[in-house]
Subunit: 194 residues, 2 copies
DNA sequence: AATTAAACAAATAAACGTTTTGTTCAATTA
DNA sequence: TAATTGAACAAAACGTTTATTTGTTTAATT
């Protein structure tokens, strides 16, 4: 299971996380594995390809953890909560991926022109959309515009991820995140107005 | 009222909007006014100071328009709507400011480390906070955490501004914005669940 | 089939002279 | 007197060249 390719990608992640793409050398990565740099070209066409593969590998792992959490929940609101909190909290543990995101914010861009990992992100959006759709169909959620809601919630989620892990500046984002989820679930309006 | 300083700042805005800060020369701005570059130093200490003053001038104008719209409304929900839509739509008309924001996204940053126009933005946030507070006190809005809600809503607002005017990529953000305001007012949950 | 080690090519950084451009200020103008 | 000019100066930006590093290829080796 932990095949050679995974070892190479993990070593690459470790090195790329230390500084950034540019300052990391192929020799450095090879050294980490006890190889010489030429050997790396059995696993990737180029330095850029190696980076691409390594990051995709890390992002997919993140996504799998979220998917598991969602599958463990039953009701739509629980799935929504599981998805929100797992996705938000995962990065706290994955130091390598977090450092890579800090050094290269284009991987998980707030305003993507051309998203280099579009497929992976699209997959995540679809996961969210499915939860929302199930909630609407079961009358747990209001009859929202599915596309708008998916886009909006995913954008807000991105915003929190970036603000918390990529450009951290503040304390206590945990409370902020909880308050945000609550506001999104219940809205601004009080139930009992006029 | 349109004093000399305003003329200088407007000419500066026009020039800075054409390209960007770096590529704009003091001579270019002076020419626009029919002056020589030395004269500009009666109005600002340096090129950077001139830029700073010009942008602050434009941002303050934007803010005034929003404030007027809010003051014209009565009920908290109307104030909230007025604030949201005026703030969002204003930039469509102010071409100079929009171009400057495109060339220099740090002016209105999604994730500010050190906000160069913190005071102006803080003023805007306070305007939003006041509307929310009034809504909570009159029981129109739920008893939210005022700080969290202000931060969240202002961040979402920034997100829309940047996505629509600074990194535009998509059509039909108008519908998206309306759907977002609706979702924030009413939340995901349907009223009549179990 | 994976890996090495040497050779090559491409990108990066350093050094340097040139030009542009921001800034100052004494003289001038209105 | 306050605003503006125009020349002088200093600092930053730019283009060019050279030296060095680093990515990539490949024939030989394990």
């Amino acid at each position: 299971m932990p095949d050679r390719l995974s070892e190479v990608l993990n070593a690459s992640l470790k090195c790329f996380a230390r500084y950034n793409y540019k300052k990391t050398t192929m020799e450095e990565i090879a050294e980490e594995l006890g190889l010489t740099k030429g050997a790396l070209y059995s696993y990737a066409r180029s330095k850029e390809d190696l980076y691409q593969k390594a990051v995709a590998y890390a992002l997919t792992k993140w996504q799998s953890k979220v998917r598991e959490a969602v599958e463990d929940a039953d009701r739509p609101e629980d799935k929504f909560m599981a998805l929100s909190f797992k996705a938000f909290k995962y990065l706290a543990a994955d130091h390598d991926l977090r450092n890579i995101l800090i050094n290269d914010p284009d991987i998980f861009p707030m305003f993507p022109k051309e998203d280099p990992f579009f497929e992976i992100n699209e997959n995540s959006r679809n996961m969210l959309r499915a939860v929302l759709e199930e909630g609407i169909n079961s009358n747990t959620f209001r009859p929202l515009d599915l596309d708008s809601a998916t886009w909006l919630l995913f954008s807000i989620y991105k915003m929190f991820i970036i603000d918390t892990y990529v450009v951290p500046d503040r304390e206590a984002t945990e409370k902020l995140f909880k308050d945000a989820v609550d506001l999104l679930l219940h809205g601004l309006f009080s139930q009992d107005r006029h």
